[in-house]
């Protein structure tokens, strides 16, 4: 079996190389302003599978492709034979039959359907049912849970058992997207903070969303599942080979749908455990940050970083927004309104309220769920004192903590 797969692989690569060469001579990479290395990467089939499901899917896909290719060739060979033989110009006199006559013709008319019935419900049907049952079995012998939350336009990952939680966003610089700068090798498929998963462990993946429907997809895992706001969906992966695996959001989720990649680092278990420890230590440091009093300058520096990562996609780096869908923060009544009421509580529809609890029916989400106390305090302070806004005030992480 293994050697057989290998052979097909080599044969396929040979095909790919020929076509790749043809394509490259037609569209030289220089003409497309691409690095030469990237153009060799495309393929005519699924990328290399690294989970049992993906392997099974590739196998099923190849088998089905073979079946439908044979069907296509046989059926249209008959048609083309007829088109050549039964032409008026070759003097063929038309027959007059309009249906099967006699037992033999009935037999030949019914044979194709018997074959198709067999293909549909046995040849394709039985492996398909097995694959479904396997694919949907998320719980048997699951070693750990990864919770994935889709947000416009980033992914939040949570490891409930380890208590680790972070947001992962696109790392490709905007200048590359606007063609002001040469594109990197992993253009649009790179993130600031990848998910780390251990190899050889069955990971139960729970999915949800905070705003609209997103779809978590890593082609090499053979897994694609919608993240639906207000509901939990699940799937599973068991990565067999260490490596970096890249995918994208697959459901249209608004303006930056094309810019929310998924990157998974699959590492051996000890490495994974070490990574979890560093994450915990980092989280502790961040939580500790909420206890102390921050200076305004510290908040502004931190706030700028948070703003650019989380807010700038909609409200734009210059705070001018993209009205009417994404309002400007520069000169905004909300941002330039009062911070808290006289008792230090949140005022409804105020700046703090918007940032922490979002605005229903819009892309403005409740960030209290995804940002830390420090990040919230910093970004609110930053927005009130940037883009020409001169409120001069600030809010401390400790205050945010008490407002939650």
């Amino acid at each position: 079996m293994a050697s057989c797969t290998l052979e097909t692989q080599t044969a396929r690569n040979a095909d790919v190389n020929l076509v790749a060469w043809l394509l490259r001579s037609l569209f030289p990479p220089s003409a497309l302003l691409l690095p030469g290395a990237a153009s060799a990467a495309y393929s005519f089939n699924f990328p290399e599978p690294v989970t049992p499901i993906a392997r099974e899917t590739l196998h099923i896909h190849n088998e089905f492709m073979l079946i439908i290719t044979v069907l296509f060739v046989v059926v249209f060979a008959i048609m083309i034979y007829s088109m050549i033989k039964h032409r008026k110009s070759s003097g063929h006199a038309p027959a007059t039959f309009a249906g099967p006559t006699g037992a033999l013709q009935w037999f030949w008319a019914l044979v194709p359907f018997a074959i198709l019935l067999f293909i549909d419900f046995v040849l394709m049907g039985i492996p398909a049912v097995k694959a479904i049952i396997n694919m949907e079995d998320t719980q048997t012998k699951a070693d750990m849970v990864l919770k994935v939350t889709g947000m416009q336009w980033k992914w939040q990952y949570e490891y409930p058992e380890a208590g680790v939680k972070f947001i992962s966003t696109l790392a490709t610089p905007r200048d590359q997207i606007s063609n002001a700068e040469a594109k990197g090798e992993h253009y649009l498929l790179e993130v600031d903070k990848p998910v780390v998963l251990p190899v050889g462990k069955k990971v139960r993946v729970l999915l949800t969303s905070t705003d609209v429907i997103h779809t978590w997809w890593v082609p090499q895992f053979g897994v694609k599942r919608d993240a639906i706001p207000g509901f939990l969906r699940e799937t599973w992966v068991l990565i067999e080979k260490p490596g970096i695996y890249r995918g994208q959001c697959a459901e249209l989720c608004g303006k930056d749908h094309g810019f929310m990649p998924v990157v998974v680092h699959a590492v051996p278990e000890p490495e994974y455990l070490a990574w979890v420890e560093t994450q915990k230590a980092e989280a502790k440091a961040v939580a500790g940050g909420a206890e102390r009093t921050w200076s305004k300058d510290e908040l502004l520096v931190e706030g700028k970083a948070v703003y650019e990562k989380v807010c700038a996609a909609c409200h734009q780096p210059d705070g001018k927004g993209l009205p009417p869908a994404f309002p400007a923060l520069a000169g905004s009544k909300v941002v330039n309104g009062p911070l808290l009421d006289m008792n230090g509580k949140v005022i409804k529809d105020s700046h703090v309220d918007r940032v922490m609890h979002g605005k229903a029916g819009t892309a403005m989400q409740a960030f209290s769920a995804s940002l830390s106390d420090v990040e919230l305090a910093a970004v609110i302070t930053y927005e009130r004192n940037s883009f020409g806004n001169q409120m001069g005030d600030m809010i401390q992480p400790a205050q945010i903590k008490s407002l939650r």
Binding site: T57, F72, M83, K88, F121, G125, M135
Partner: protein, 531 residues
Amino acid sequence: MSTATTHAAEHPAEHYPGGLMRWLTTTNHKDIGTMYLTFSLIMFFVGGLMILAVRAELFQPGLQLMQPEFFNQLIGVHALVMIFAALMPAATGFANWMLPLMIGAPDMALPRLNNWGFWLLPPAAILLTLPFTLALFGIGDGAIATGWTFYAPLSVQGGMGVDFAILAVHILGISSIMGSINIIVTIFNMRAPGMTMMKLPLFAWGWLITAFLLIATLPVLAGAVTMLLTDRHFGTHFFDAAGGGDPILFQHLFWFFGHPEVYILLLPVWGLMPHVLSTFSRKPAYGYKAQVYSFIAIGLLSVMVWAHHFFTAGMPVPALIYFMFSTMAISLPLAVLFFCWIATMWKGAMTFETPMLFAVGFIVLFGIAGLTGLILADVAADAQYHHSYFVVAHFHYALFAGGIMGVMTGVYYWLPKWTGHMYSEKLGKLHFWLTVISFNLTFLPQFFLGLAGMPRRIPDYALQFAEFNAISTLGAFILGLSQLLFAWNIWCCVRGGQKVDNQVWEGAEGLEWELSSPPPHHSWEIQPVIK
């Protein structure tokens, strides 16, 4: 008989107001058919221009021409325009022109309803595209940007373009339902004496099933988008989990309409095919009854398979298995049709005029759509294909090669009958070959893009997708430009050309070929008797 002839002679058939008033007030099925077809052709170019802008953006990685917001508007409105304003009106245009001629009826049963049905279309098309123009003047943020599927909650979040699209869909739906009622009533009541249901031309059968599907499913779409409208503006929570609703409910409702819609677009074309194949093979259509029963079976199955459009949304295992097998079951009646088409050609005496070329091209390319559809039904494999360019390629094989090339078959086949002139065979053949080659150049690479992992509806992509996208864009521009030949050929044919006789095609059979070309303004005032 003689009195009737004198009567007709005293009142010349063509008395109607001149100029614009003729078209605004006409209740004549031929005039209305012409208006439907003209409208469809115009909207075909409008929708085409939108997607050429999209393909131009996708020519290279990086954002060159437009921002993602505008990109999202173009893809959604392209689909809505092509489906509701180009393909569906083309089929209704065929029905208006040809049904009365084919079944020996003097006109459609409900002529005023017919007029209203057409005149609802232009306002709907304006509603759909107006937000683009309004945005130029700083009003609103453009057209609907959710794709043509309106998925909640994205559509709840969207700007006023969504409201425009909802109202446009309502109006288009009303127009289609009225058209369908008219077609059903006409077929049931106005057939020539002696034309039993099992002697009905297959084109009429195809349209009859289409009309029932429209009446069964359009109200569901109307309900779904109305619920969306109230979620957006009146505080309901049909699709909002926080209020006890469910976003996936929208997908169930939408695709309960959306899947039959595919057959609504294709059944009129399937009805047309046996006529064309039989004409140019000079041999009767094979398996009349089998084709009729297949139309009915496909119609019934089409409302039972909707959830295969969102397997990745997650559903119970039994539901997955049911929707997979019911979807695969459609391949059986569809295979009957393919079998009958090829058997009609078998042992005929074929010639390959433009309509026959398009018919054969349709069969081959639609075959690819059908076969890829079969594997898309497989839930496990679908997890890879779904939401990817594989699906985009698949449904363009179904709806461009199946739908639009089918409509072109009909246009070339009937144009001489409508105008009394022969179109240019040379231009027609050139149009066919350019269309077929550039169509495959556009969409074949998209299968590979999908397999390699490119999601659909993204304005920018990773570098490994660059070459196939460049080829696809090149193909799309050739495809778009070659359609100008089509429009030019029609224009010249309407204006003049070699005169044709009643029969037009050597092998053509049926009532419509007994009338003069072009037929008189009022035809079959005395119904023919079928023996």
